[in-house]
């Protein structure tokens, strides 16, 4: 088993996690995200197959003390005015494990490793939160891994749920 950066791989080995959208992101879109500097993708593979992958990008969590409707109005009138507070984050854009390797704890190990790497990160830019664009089927999994939903009621038409983990939780020793 080896972890590689997407850009070091010429041909992505076969991958099927059971979800066509997650398969499609890796096989069709991940290189474009990388080339456009939108997300970096990391691939775990063996000699024959892609075992799993995850894509990371920078993010932020913003909150406003204003009412949502008032904020919309103000933003329209004064587009450059800042009406909210923002906190730095890293987002897991996508994380998927092949169906052949599910139940082995690989995804949880990846998640834990990312938490550790970011909470121990003192040499570069600061980052307080780990966010995730979680597929609805994976919400319980992320809850089990101490992520919290950002919204009480996620948008109805969305196929994903925005969630976050406070990295400060892992900074105590």
């Amino acid at each position: 088993m080896i972890l590689k950066k997407l850009e070091s791989i010429k041909t992505i080995k076969p991958f099927d996690c059971g979800d066509s959208d997650l398969n499609g992101f890796l096989l069709d879109d991940s290189r474009n995200y990388h080339q456009q500097f939108l997300a970096h993708t990391y691939i775990i593979e063996n000699e024959f197959l892609t075992i799993g992958y995850f894509s990371l990008l920078t993010d932020k969590i913003s909150k406003s003390d204003l009412d949502k409707n008032l904020w919309r109005k103000l933003r329209k009138d004064i587009p450059h005015e800042k009406h909210y507070d923002s906190y730095p984050a890293i987002k897991i854009g996508r994380l998927a494990i092949s169906s052949h390797f599910k139940g082995m704890g690989i995804g949880t190990n990846v998640l834990n490793a990312i938490k550790m790497r970011l909470s121990a990160n003192e040499e570069y830019a600061a980052c307080r939160f780990l966010t995730v664009d979680a597929y609805k089927e994976a919400v319980d999994y992320y809850l089990k891994n101490r992520f919290l939903p950002l919204l009480k009621e996620p948008p109805q038409n969305s196929h994903t749920v925005p969630m976050y983990f406070d990295l400060k939780k892992a900074m105590f020793k």
Binding site: V110, N112, L150, A170
Partner: protein, 52 residues
């Protein structure tokens, strides 16, 4: 083409209040869990063909 990675929404009202509360009342993960994080990180480093 797969669906794009969604934007993280701006929080308002109750969502913003809940987020602020959680941010100001951080409960550290148990020591055993932190040790699992460290082990996972060591595992990921051990299989990486680049410096993490």
């Amino acid at each position: 083409m797969a669906r794009p990675i969604a934007e993280t929404p701006i929080l308002f009202g109750e969502d913003a209040e809940r987020f602020t509360y959680e941010m100001n009342h951080v409960v550290p993960v148990p020591k055993e869990e932190l040790e699992r994080y460290e082990k996972s990180y060591e595992w990921l480093k051990s299989i990486a063909d680049f410096d993490i």
